[in-house]
């Protein structure tokens, strides 16, 4: 069985600083895996690379054996070709618009009937005479822009999300002025596409879809106990509820893999217990979970396996029991051993 997520030799550098250094690990389907490590160990950077907020400097990330990247297809060829042609044409038209216009109008005045054929022919001839170079230059610039754009868009966060990897953030990033319900709807919307006409005219199928989405979102709000707050702005909720809402938002697109970045941060013991129950519940529905957490009680309580990072490197991996006894982990958490120092 291939692992759900396979990270191999992943490296992320910011200039001279290596935030993630050749980290490899796998996340089995249906498991809860925790990433732990001291502050600045590169845990959140790792999340940011997996979700394509940052581009990896080296290494591979496979999801069920495949990389998540846009593929060049027919649509891309058509779009880039059309854009290039159009840009060339517009450059040529724009540079000589006055002479083209004069050629087009030829000797027309408001008293005579306009000869469309003559006008268009003359304009075309003028275009052929003056437009070749501007066309070539405009098209070349446009083609270069397309090329550059394509390379910057191979792997983007929204693409990763659409491939079933959703996340929460260490410092909560809800859409604060939108209602809780709308927050949940956002990730679901991305699957519906953005058909403008149906939405603008509020066509029947749009209405049906909307109603179905809202009832699904309400069910999810119920799961995290926020039904009563559905129409309140997300920013007005208490802290713990915002954490729960953020998890619900990440879940709403039914991801294969859920990345939780310190979900228990700032929670008291009973809130953490609630959270653990919620996370186990999510796993029971078949979602695989990868989480960063500092609260060892939570980590040891729910994870199936643990990856330990320090200074960007993986120093250990294994089951909670193995990690608890691992000397390198103890060293990283309790400080370097004093061996060899005076």
């Amino acid at each position: 069985m291939t692992a759900l997520l396979e990270v191999s030799e992943l490296t992320l550098c910011f200039g001279g600083l290596t935030a993630v250094d050749a980290v490899s690990f796998t996340v089995e389907k249906g498991s809860i895996t925790a990433v732990i490590g001291p502050n600045g160990a590169g845990k959140t950077s790792l999340f940011n690379v997996i979700t394509a907020q940052y581009q990896a400097s080296a290494g591979r990330i496979l999801v069920e054996g495949a990389t998540i990247e846009r593929q060049w297809g027919r649509a891309e060829t058509l779009r880039a070709g059309g854009f290039t042609l159009l840009a060339g044409l517009l450059t040529a038209l724009a540079l000589h618009c006055q002479s083209l216009w004069s050629a087009f109008l030829h000797d027309w005045n408001s008293l005579t009937k306009f000869a469309w054929g003559t006008g268009l022919t003359l304009a075309w001839e003028e275009f052929l005479r003056t437009g070749t170079w501007p066309f070539a230059i405009g098209a070349a610039v446009a083609a270069a822009a397309c090329w550059q754009h394509w390379h910057s868009q191979r792997r983007t966060p929204d693409l990763v999300h659409r491939h079933g990897i959703a996340r929460t953030f260490q410092n909560i990033r809800l859409f604060r002025r939108m209602s809780c319900l709308e927050n949940i709807l956002i990730p679901r919307d991305t699957r519906a596409g953005y058909g403008r006409l149906a939405a603008a005219l509020r066509l029947p199928w749009q209405r049906q879809r909307e109603a179905a989405e809202i009832s699904a979102a309400m069910a999810l709000l119920e799961l995290v106990g926020l039904t009563a707050a559905a129409h309140l702005p997300a920013g007005s909720l208490p802290y713990g509820a915002q954490r729960h809402l953020e998890i619900a938002r990440a879940l709403s697109s039914k991801p294969r893999l859920l990345l939780l970045d310190e979900p228990a941060a700032g929670m008291n013991e009973s809130e953490s217990a609630d959270l653990m129950r919620l996370i186990r519940g999510i796993r029971a529905t078949g979602t695989t979970i990868l989480l960063i957490e500092h609260d060892m009680q939570v980590v040891m309580g729910i994870s199936d396996s643990i990856v330990v990072l320090d200074h960007g490197e993986k120093i250990a991996a294994g089951t909670p029991a193995e990690i608890r006894a691992h000397p390198a982990v103890i060293a990283a958490y309790l400080g370097e051993t004093v061996e060899g120092q005076p």
């Binding site: 966060p157 929204d158 959703a166 809800l174 939108m178 519906a192 939405a199 909307e210 129409h231 697109s253």
Partner: protein, 350 residues
């Protein structure tokens, strides 16, 4: 936050309790009220002008209010709409399309210009986008002024067709009470635009706009194709501005001097949206009515009452921007969310 008291009762009772229905009623019935007023208090003939500029507010509302892209070149799209309408309909050129095809051309021109400007610029962040759109605004005015073979520059393209609704609307200036028809026609245009925008805002598209405004990074991480959403909003905003431009040119009967579509007009549009309440559709309309009303009606009437004067201090148009600026300062101090603050609730879910 909770508006449940508004939701009780029959639909008619609900409508009657909403101040917006009364506002709409007054505006639609304004011709009756206006004709009852003494002659020098009548303002009806000035209303279509305000309605045309309300499109500018709607356009900026979509781009800046809802999607959070600071757009300082909206006037350029008004100009593009006005000139596209003028070029395609004027008797000075051979196209001589009628009102409706001309309006279509204007909207198409605004949309294409929006895509062209939006493709490179909507990828820019905050201030850079503002600067790029500002520059674009200046470029367009300059181009329109200097491409005089096509645009007739500051001489303006004249002799544009009047709206055709089975019959051609009479001239608003020379025919008594002709403004009533213009008023209703332009109101109908606004109504259609508002209906479409309202639907969009309560759909996945509107939610994506707001999400991008609230937190772009989170929006992207939640799967929203941010560049596409921004480009869509920008294009829609441009099309709305262009519609306003075409309606304005049609009302005026000529394309108007390109320099009238300068930066000040963009600022005026942004002020409408800020005054009304960023992100609120009703707010954008209220802002357009207040600022448009101030610019068009109050200044016009006051100037007439004060009479011709040589005094700098008594000539109101010199005070225009001062009053205007003061209004915005007071606004920011006492009601920063605008006259009608944004309130988001998902439709059909209560």
């Amino acid at each position: 936050m909770n508006a449940s008291h508004l939701m009780a009762g029959s639909p008619w009772q609900r409508l009657a309790r909403d101040w917006r229905s009364w506002a709409v009623l007054i505006i639609v019935a304004w011709p009756a009220i206006d004709l009852a007023l003494p002659t020098d208090l009548r303002i009806g003939a000035l209303l279509p002008n305000i309605l045309a500029f309300a499109f500018l507010a709607l356009g900026i509302h979509v781009v800046t209010g809802a999607t959070g892209l600071l757009h300082l070149g909206a006037a350029a799209f008004v100009a593009i709409g006005a000139f596209a309408f003028a070029i395609s309909t004027t008797t000075a050129f051979p196209f001589q399309l009628g009102f409706w095809p001309g309006l279509g051309v204007a909207i198409a021109a605004g949309t294409s210009a929006g895509v062209l400007l939006g493709l490179p610029t909507t990828r820019l962040r905050g201030d850079y986008l503002a600067i790029a759109t500002l520059g674009f605004g200046e470029i367009v005015v300059d181009l329109l002024k200097n491409l005089d073979v096509i645009t007739k520059g500051t001489q303006t393209l004249g002799d544009l067709p009047k709206p055709w609704l089975g019959v051609t609307l009479p001239n608003i200036v020379s025919t008594a009470n002709a403004w009533i028809w213009w008023h209703w026609l332009y109101l109908a245009f606004i109504a259609v635009a508002v209906w479409l925008l309202h639907n969009l805002q309560n759909s996945q598209i509107g939610r994506a706009w707001i999400a991008v405004r609230e937190d772009e990074l989170a929006a992207r991480a939640m799967g929203i194709p941010v560049a596409r959403v921004k480009l869509g909003a920008f294009t829609l905003g441009s099309a709305l501005c262009a519609t306003g431009g075409a309606l304005y040119a049609c009302l005026l009967g000529n394309s108007s001097d390109p320099t009238n579509y300068d930066f000040m007009l963009s600022v005026m549009g942004i002020s409408m949206v800020i005054l009304g309440g960023m992100g609120s559709l009703t707010g954008a309309l209220v802002g357009a009515m207040v600022i448009g009303g101030f610019n068009v009606i109050i200044l016009d009437k006051m100037t007439r009452w004060l009479g011709e004067t040589d005094s700098m201090l008594l000539s109101l148009s010199n005070w225009q921007y001062l009053i205007f600026g003061l209004m915005l300062v007071l606004m920011m101090r006492f009601r920063p969310a605008g006259v009608v603050p944004e309130r988001r609730t998902a439709r059909g879910s209560r």
